[in-house]
Amino acid sequence: MDFIIAKYNYWIYIILMMIGFYAMIVKNNLAKKVVGMNIFQTALILLFISTGVKTGGATVPIVIGDAHGHAIPGTLHAIDYINPLPHVLMLTAIVVMVATFGVALALLIMIFKRYKTIEEDEILEIRRKEAFT
């Protein structure tokens, strides 16, 4: 039980990742694939954020200091703040996510213009028909 409680974030991340992955490769609707892609990437972000967490009084990674916000050098301790590195990485990952999302949607529109559908099996059917004629 301890095993499950101590890592419940990780279990949720695995579940989300499997859901996203499932949608990406099994779903027939292309838009659903894109949704799955989004869920997949978000789950990944959850994984990274979870690695940075510190329990035991650590706070957000912004220095608590004087009126200007700056702290006296040497007074900061790693134990007091949450690890900022995963956050940085994930900011990048979110950007990548939205960029991929945008391109995928643009492709979706192109595909719809061409085939008038975004169901994969119907598209394959159209392609097969066109290959014969």
């Binding site: 957000v60 912004i62 916000g69 900011l91 950007v95 945008g102 949607l105 643009a106 529109i109 213009k113």
Partner: protein, 151 residues
């Protein structure tokens, strides 16, 4: 294609909100050093303000506010500011993106120069993100038919 519905409440609300969102976007950008936020979040907000206008009015209005060529220039300018800052550092004799070199041309010490360098690149990020968000939205919302939208 987004059509205009001439709904006075939505239109005036959007027009009313836009400056506030933009101000907040700038706030997020400049306070990025001291609080959550920074170029990326600010940029998305900035972009969102234009997107709001476009949704409330239509693409024609949106393109009146931010013309296509201006958008194109902004797109590239942001990344250019970022990499240009880096290149400036390189020209000043340091490594690429070594902002402490900016102290040579700014009246501050290397640490503060780094802080200012961060601000500079955050501005670059903000510009690009804002412009690109608008650009992607316009492309998606019009399915690429800007010209038709303008007719």
């Amino acid at each position: 294609m987004i059509r205009r519905h001439e709904d006075i409440i939505i239109e005036s609300l959007a027009r009313f909100l836009t400056p506030f969102i933009q101000a907040f976007a700038l706030y997020v950008l400049f306070l990025g050093h001291y609080s959550p936020g920074g170029g990326f979040q600010g940029g998305v907000l900035m972009g969102a303000s234009f997107i709001l206008l476009v949704i409330a009015y239509d693409i024609i209005e949106g393109k009146r506010r931010i013309t296509e060529k201006f958008n194109i220039v902004l797109n590239a300018t942001g990344v250019m500011v970022f990499s240009g800052t880096g290149l400036l550092c390189l020209i000043l004799g340091g490594e690429f993106l070594d902002y402490s070199q900016l102290a040579a041309i700014l009246p501050v010490g290397p640490e503060e120069a780094r802080g200012l360098g961060i601000l500079a690149v955050e501005i670059g990020v903000e510009i690009t993100v804002a412009a690109i968000m608008v650009s992607i939205f316009l492309d998606l919302a019009s399915a690429g038919e800007h010209e038709e939208a303008l007719k």
